[in-house]
Symmetry: C2
């Protein structure tokens, strides 16, 4: 039945009500069963302590509300033949979502051992939050989910990410009132200013106010309804309120609200798609107020439990030892009348499945929640079209991210019809010099416009909002539903999403072990406007530690690249855009940077991840070098090459090897990371016993943390960012942090045996130049001419 | 003039208007001068290229708006004799705040070199965003500021933090429309549900809509005014709108809005304080709409600039090279008529200072922005009152955080009148077992209440909102204004504030070098519900990496403690609550944990930061140990002691030393951290050549990163969390991550020379026990009885 022909929205027949309520009761029964039971799942015998799990773990409080929402989504999905996905924000309520997946059969299809009968029910119960079983939250293991509910705040941005470029998809999103207090969630309400009713699907937020979080009332549940209503209207929504604790009343109201909401969504989409309506729609939102722990024990040990925070986890906590608790649990379970819900084989009776959709329309079976199934490879062009010509190293300058922008423009253009690529960033696409993309796609924008605006586009696929959280959430939702993207961000401020990316990496680590989960496109970060070039902004904008954060995480899922110039950035970008199931961090500058490698050279260098730059060193091949100058990152690479040049001029007999590192995990032992090098390889590059002066983009100790097991580690000396930041010139920054060319030459002299005596004068000259720098900059505010005009003479 | 007697709020006389406008023009002139000029500050001669800085860095766009707000705050502060503080959310607008501080004289009082005359003006201009000068943002160096504006999102929570327990303080807070898109800012609007009109001061948010961020329009500027109005009402505010681009009109409207707002605030406070009004007030908010880059160049190179995003930084970018730009700059500067504003010595003429307040009422001179001046030491009791009795190690169990809760209860009670201590946390105070504090102070709550509620208190000083960002922002604001506090947080989710704590540490690092900034109380984290005890929540709640993040930061400002039991936690808590200018991270469990040390022992052990636990080892003092078992963290400590016990039983001849580490930075070399150990000390504890098996609470490579320079590093073998998390039993967690007692014994056998052969049978028994564990847990879901019942027998 289509929305248009539906005459009496939301009016349930008694039969429909009975069936929906039975489904809900069944889901509630199954949720309680998962939390408590390890045997006797159908209560065919009186409940005894040994039927109950020894450790009671799980969250009951939100489960009946989630079950209600699932039950009613089933109805409208089936009635309207919808493609739908649901994001379960209160993901602690794992028992609810698992219960529904089991009822609709998708669980047994995904996990054939957990059959839709008594035996399967026993497994479903026992495995829940049991060692070796399944997590207590909605998790990667949960069919139909793209969202771990453990860390709150991201449900709504995930929902929007899923809806983008999925015009036929309805994304319902349950937001708990606890989660609604978080910053990321609060910001993401404004995502509706970026949702294109023509090319994107619909997001239906369902704000579920059960009144409490772990131990407190929630803010949104305790402000007057008119204030909440104003808030949601202020967010640009048109609210529908459903309130109650009488199941039949709530069923009717919820059905009516859902029908109204879906009718409005249909009307909005029709107006935008058929009538070219230009005005930003006011999308519906449902506010559902039901008691926390609804239908659970009203009182335990003399204290109120249902409709209070005491329902949050396990309302009856001493069931094995306290006969009263055991009796209460049995009464609670029997209150759902399981004998009416399951046949004697434990199979759900047909009448409660009347409104369950079929096949991939089931929420637990939608391919959108297993996005890898829908993923197409990106149409990536030959890189030669964008490569900068390099006849010899260091002869020309380019802004690497601007060159990348041309590649991204192509990708954006090549996906104009497919619409499966998005570029996100917190208002920094142009600042990060990627603005070429605008010629292929403007910036998504549904709010008001003025004549002065540039590149705003109701149908654009560049997403810019000044919220790293929202950017990250959108992109995660987009990738998890089978599309591609790139997040460009100021390096320092990507720490804002440290905790979000943790969860995404955990997700990937888990899905990689689940055979039914198809690989998805990697989450790609371009970190630019980096620590060494904060001339405008200084210390507050300087932090290269995201790499450290990422490298703490599961090695199988994380990759970090520091391309030193434009062509290597192209090669790395090409690689990460083709990759699957990783979080890729690419650190690259936006400022003019010498071009070191031709496209061919760049490709080979990046494939190896690191290598000797013969042309930059002074080895003659007849013996080991006297010293290795290693570098990772664009600014350190320039300083190392300038140091190599100084050494060639001043100490021509010294055999210097220059090693550039793009893929930083190569430094790890091969047992610790898939990209790690064997000791044999490492020793061949860095030598087992010669001094290695390593100029690194970020915190120097990271390199030690990666290389501490190597034979030559005692000879490794690392320079990097030492948390000395300020508003100053680029060269002054490296001087302050002892990463400059003169300091590196001094390091070489200090560490190569015998050189200190022989090169006293050279060392003094380096020292003097650094002093000259300090005087010059204080007076002129610019860098020494010999630094400003430096170029490679190799 | 008090609010009550003011008859015609907001009506300026022409004279007042003239004076305010002159002040505003002067501030604008000074802002432009800072961005551009390094000579000829008063334009006493025609502007020439060499007067202009070689590198033009700074943010003009927001500056005129900030200048307007400052000018008008001056007026009401003086007229009403207010104690006020202003948080400048658009902190990029450093030139504006510096200009105002210079005009009011507070700048020259703080920095006597920068006099309030032409010479000082020249310095003010040149130093701005110049190498060796001052940052381009509002920063620690800025008089009157507690807020770095570089990273957006925290202004409003800082403002609330400052207002808490400062009943006579007005905290104005300018929120840029860019910042308003961030999650932390969006969440912090709800802080008004936690502000007590009796004991707390007032926060007056001024939402400054200039329409654009770096390169895009802003969401809040481009939704209809009624929608914005609804949003602010939904946030619980009563909005006042000021819109315009004609200075005189805006001056009048702003003056009227400020008077109205302050009258309403006075009425709210009067009702709450004198009439005991119980209802949550609707506090005013001002929405100020003025053009971005107002009064700046309308058009540059044929493109509109004023009132567009092109005003964000430096509107005229080629002044030194492009004569048109130079002419435009001169005309722009002269448009403010500097000759009317400054006398021939460059001093501000008196008429524009009419409304500038005096002494500490000036926004640049308020002691609340230099909170250390107001700080009193906390009344901390003797720890013996709370210590758990320990006659012998490991004989009793306590929940360390619960014991700490008793101490915090005392602190809360002892500060009942002073009101200078707050406990913040995201809805986890009770979950983290600190609930004893509620008997001394309830939870701050101004929203609706129900009979079922517990411990909610309109005047409470425990702050709980499900937003780590808001908790952190409140606490930062509270500390920066001279008070004390503690943030208790789930360990994994403290990463949510990674980027916020970065900024706070940067702040402390900078203020430590500013002699005029008095030390403030440290920001203290209690991280609990940690990685090893996520029995309920599993992998999503497991991340011990905050310590790694913190230890990347300025060593002078960061401290990390891992007390292994209840008494050591008390000792550490006592220490951190007395400390100044640090970020202290304390990691401690909430689950029952053996008591190892008496209070006296704990005090000595914590003062040393680490030490040998003689009673746990089997050294006889006659020779070096065969192996060192080191541990940091409560769970690793228990496993190491259990391993020591197994070794004593099975290999009684082995000389085992047990070292416990509380203060993890002790492992660093003394040159790298103030708490670092000399090599002499390190070798004395850990030996230079014996195997060290180190069981660490977090990521094992952190220990290598700290200790890689030590002589014995090659013999250091670390066990820790390897990102293998799930919902399981505590012991299964350590087994999965190879941190369990049996694995540690195997490590010892594998690493002590000669032991492998001698102890084959013991090793096999360890291996067998681990296998038995796997079978047992799969069947029972609990830990092996010998583990569950384990206790120390020493």
């Amino acid at each position: 039945m289509s929305a248009a022909t539906r005459q009496q929205p939301g009016v349930l027949t008694d039969e429909e009500l009975t069936s929906l309520d039975a489904h809900w009761r069944a889901a509630n029964y199954l949720a309680v069963g998962q939390i408590y039971l390890m045997a006797n799942p159908l209560l065919t015998e009186p409940l005894r302590p040994e039927h109950v799990k020894p450790r009671l773990l799980g969250h009951w409080g939100t489960s009946p509300g989630l079950n209600l929402v699932h039950t009613h989504l089933n109805r409208v999905i089936k009635a309207r033949d919808l493609d739908a996905l649901c994001i379960w924000g209160p993901g602690h309520g794992g028992p609810a979502v698992l219960a529904n997946a089991w009822l609709e059969g998708s669980y047994s299809e995904t996990y054939p051992d957990v059959t839709r009968d008594g035996q399967g029910m026993a497994r479903l119960f026992k495995q829940f939050s049991f060692p070796g079983g399944v997590p207590s939250h909605v998790a990667p293991e949960t069919p139909g989910s793209i969202h771990e509910g453990g860390e709150l705040g991201y449900s709504l941005s995930h929902a929007y990410g899923a809806a983008l470029d999925n015009p036929d998809l309805l994304v319902a999103c349950v937001i708990g009132d606890g989660e609604a207090e978080t910053g990321p969630l609060a910001a993401s309400w404004h995502s509706n200013k970026f949702l294109d009713p023509v090319h994107d699907g619909a997001v239906l937020p369902i704000l579920h106010l059960n009144g409490y979080k772990i131990a407190n009332p929630t803010v949104l549940a305790r402000i007057p309804e008119d204030e909440l209503d104003a808030l949601l209207r202020g967010y640009g929504h048109d609210p529908l309120h459903v309130t109650g604790d009488d199941p039949a009343t709530v069923h009717r109201a919820m059905a009516e609200a859902l029908d109204t909401a879906l009718d409005r969504i249909a009307a909005i989409q029709h107006a935008a798609r058929e009538q070219d309506a230009g005005e930003r729609p006011r999308w519906p939102v449902i506010v559902l107020r039901t008691p926390k722990g609804w239908t659970g024990p009203a009182e335990v040990d003399g204290l109120p439990v249902a409709d209070t925070w005491r329902s949050h986890q396990v309302p009856l906590s001493a069931v094995r030892d306290n006969p009263d608790h055991l009796r209460q649990l049995e009464a609670w379970l029997r209150s759902y009348r399981p004998e009416e819900l399951f046949d004697d084989q434990g199979r759900p009776r047909p009448h409660l499945l009347t409104h369950v959709p079929e096949g991939p329309h089931r929420l637990g079976a939608t391919p959108h929640a297993n996005g890898g199934l829908l993923l197409r490879s990106l149409p990536l062009p030959p890189l030669e079209r964008f490569a900068v010509p390099v006849d010899k190293p260091g002869a020309t300058l380019h802004e690497p991210t601007r060159v990348l922008g041309d590649l991204l423009e192509h990708v954006m253009r090549a996906t104009a019809d497919r619409r499966d690529f998005r570029l996100v960033g917190p208002d920094e696409t142009a600042s990060n010099r990627l603005q070429a993309v605008y010629s292929a796609s403007g910036k998504a924008w549904q709010a008001g416009t003025l004549d002065v605006d540039e590149h705003l586009d109701r149908h654009g696929r560049v997403m810019e909002i000044l919220s790293e959280h929202t950017c990250q959430g959108w992109l995660e939702g987009y990738l998890l539903t089978g599309r591609h993207g790139l997040f460009s961000c100021y390096e320092a401020f990507v720490h804002i999403v440290d905790s979000m990316v943790n969860q995404h990496i955990k997700w990937l680590r888990t899905t990689r072990r689940l055979p039914w989960r198809a690989p998805i496109a990697s989450l790609n970060y371009l970190l630019t406007s980096h620590v060494w070039r904060q001339d405008h902004n200084g210390f507050s904008h300087q932090d290269p530690g995201f790499v450290d954060h990422i490298l703490n995480k599961s090695p199988e899922a994380v990759r970090v690249y520091l391309p030193p110039d434009a062509n290597t950035l192209l090669s790395v970008a090409d690689h990460v855009l083709r990759s699957r199931d990783y979080v890729n961090v690419v650190v690259a500058g936006k400022q003019p940077c010498y071009d070191w490698l031709s496209m061919d050279q760049a490709r080979i260098h990046c494939a190896r991840g690191l290598g000797v730059w013969d042309w930059a060193g002074t080895e003659d091949g007849s013996r080991e070098p006297d010293v290795v100058l290693a570098c990772a990152g664009d600014v350190p690479t320039q300083e190392v090459l300038a140091a190599a040049q100084l050494l060639r001029r001043h100490l021509p007999d010294l055999a210097v090897r220059v090693v550039n590192v793009v893929d930083i995990a190569r430094l790890l032992p091969s047992e610790e990371h898939p990209h790690g090098m064997s000791d044999f390889e490492y020793d061949g590059l860095f030598t087992p016993d010669k001094p290695v002066i390593f100029a690194y983009h970020g915190y120097p100790w990271l390199i030690h943390r990666l290389a501490y097991r190597r034979t030559g580690h005692a000879h490794l000396h690392v320079r990097g960012y030492k948390e000395i930041g300020t508003t100053t010139t680029p060269f002054d920054m490296v001087v302050r942090n002892d990463l400059d060319r003169y300091r590196l030459v001094m390091d070489v002299i200090d560490r190569v045996p015998g050189l200190a005596v022989r090169a006293t004068a050279v060392r003094q000259e380096m020292e003097d130049t650094r002093l000259r720098h300090h005087d010059w900059i204080r007076e002129h505010g610019t860098d020494l001419p010999e630094v400003a005009d430096w170029s490679w003479d190799g």
